[in-house]
Symmetry: C2
Subunit: 331 residues, 2 copies
């Protein structure tokens, strides 16, 4: 069943059928209805490939993230898919991995599929692998609009939507210091854009409060509860507060504190990042900085739709994080 069949059955030309499919205003209501009825009766669906050939688009956006099994990315992807669908866009998912090659390949596959736009989730696309490694994004942005969620690069055609991670960490560390903490550890798992911002916030807060930035207090580690715990145990660092770039490491730290029989809240404060369910699994429950995936996703999609409609949109949009204070962790 194709457009010719429908045309024949409804006694019009294929041009007219095409117009009613695309809801063209130039068709009379009467013929519109006539054709619709036939299409419904025979359960006709236009062939996407043919439409694609004609229109050079099938309303698809590429969603790329290093790994959807990561809680943060999964939740972003979920919101994005939902929001995009509202506007009739389907989502092709690519888990690119964290390596440069994987990222380049994912972007290439998507471009070859003639997607209408691309949304990259997580700040691992903003050049954490070196200096010139965003060339592939620049190239991609020449072809389709590119949205970066939680990363920032100043490239025409790349729209960046992010939360203010610098400020979130800066403020938190200031609060910790005001509450009397002096030996504050920063745990992180990557050198991505957002992590770098968090690190800067951490360092600046220390400096602005007259504390020294100590190298051994900046700990790079796997983002994994048990590994984080054990690494801290091995290092035997002496600290009275922890802030981590993701919850899993923070929970690991919390467990370590437990292990050495210190009291969370009394002796040590622990703050996580991303406000995942992990925060309420541990004891005591853990404060965390919420990175607002839902809001970001919404802004990302709205902006993208505007861009696709030819409207102008700001190249960088930053919203504040939210500090989620759990009763049991006080400062």
């Amino acid at each position: 069943m194709n457009i010719y069949d429908i045309a024949k059955l409804s006694g019009v030309s294929i041009a007219t059928v095409s117009r009613v499919i695309n809801n063209s205003p130039k068709v009379s209501e009467k013929t519109k209805k006539k054709v619709w009825d036939v299409m419904n009766e025979y359960d006709y669906t236009p062939n996407v490939f043919a439409r694609g050939l004609g229109l050079n688009s099938v309303k698809t956006v590429g969603l790329v993230c290093p790994d959807v099994s990561d809680r943060y990315m999964a939740s972003a992807i979920a919101y994005l898919e939902k929001n995009l669908r509202k506007y009739g866009y389907d989502s092709i998912l690519m888990c690119s991995g964290f390596d440069y090659e994987g990222k380049v390949e994912a972007v290439k596959i998507l471009l070859d599929r003639r997607i209408d736009a691309m949304i990259l989730v997580g700040s691992h696309y903003a050049g954490d692998c070196g200096q010139n490694d965003i060339q592939y994004l620049k190239d991609a942005a020449q072809k389709v609009p590119v949205v970066l969620m939680n990363g920032y690069i100043r490239v025409p055609g790349v729209y960046c939507i992010l939360t203010d991670n610098y400020k979130a960490v800066y403020d938190t560390v200031c609060n910790l210091i005001e509450a009397g903490r002096k030996k504050i550890v920063f745990l992180y798992d990557a050198n991505s854009y957002s992590t770098t911002k968090k690190l800067e916030g951490y360092q600046d807060a220390l400096i602005d409060n007259g504390l020294k930035v100590q190298e051994e207090y900046k700990v790079l580690m796997p983002n994994n509860v048990l590994k984080a715990r054990d690494l801290l145990a091995k290092k035997k660092l002496d600290f009275d507060a922890v802030i981590a770039s993701d919850d899993a490491m923070a929970v690991g730290a919390l467990k370590y504190v437990h292990q050495i029989n210190k009291s969370i809240s009394e002796d040590v404060n622990v703050v996580g990042f991303n406000n995942s369910e992990l925060c309420v699994c541990c004891y005591p429950e853990m404060s965390s900085i919420d990175s607002q995936e839902e809001e970001l996703s919404e802004i990302a999609v709205d902006s993208l739709i505007k861009v696709l409609a030819g409207k102008s949109v700001r190249q960088k949009m930053e919203i504040p994080c939210k500090f989620i204070k759990r009763n049991t962790t006080q400062f």
Copy 2:
């Protein structure tokens, strides 16, 4: 730049170019190389839409799950995407939600996109909404191969890959009873296929060990740590073991036990399901039943590829779960 340009530039016909694109064995190595060189030089990529029109496929599979932000589904989707890509298939993601309408819509959108196959993740597609609600899957299976991950329905063209949830729970409950537990609670959050199997395993184990199945010990609740904890607190149930259909509820139970100053392991055993990172966040760490997403995803993709290649494949494939015993929970 299209196939005509390449043909002209390499001095052959478009038929030949098409053949080298498709790596047809009928082309001489010499012309193959000649054409390849031109394609590479001009960075030519065949137009997917035109290919789609000609081949009636663009090597895409639809991935549908109720909600990717669920840990279990996210991890399955991640593995599926990765495995499918190995075979050159791209993945269109659809988060259908848990309602019937959403599921039907997701499947329809995918079918309209002329996907080559469909993989449904989670057992919510196996008819948890009523009796006749799998008609849309039957219809879909007429058009493309359908794979159900962790669900089972006996429908031609629907291939079901699942873990033996019944046995996993049955065995666990038997072990609990042998260890002296008598008041075993079962927590669950839905009436999906797999949950129903788990519930059956729970009940049969009780019966086979001469215990009574008590209705108040089967607790339907939201799959959420704090809500689970609070609901149990409100119910004031007296129990000495808990098994849940997902980790979050189990952790909630564990926290409740903590709250009433009972000892996990001494007084109460708690076992979760899906072996997520939540299990190691709580204290003490929690045992859980691993539902083998990675293995399932691999089998799912392998089977699908076979089906697409016209080979025959078993309609139902079931593998055992793995019990993950954490040191601190003993029985």
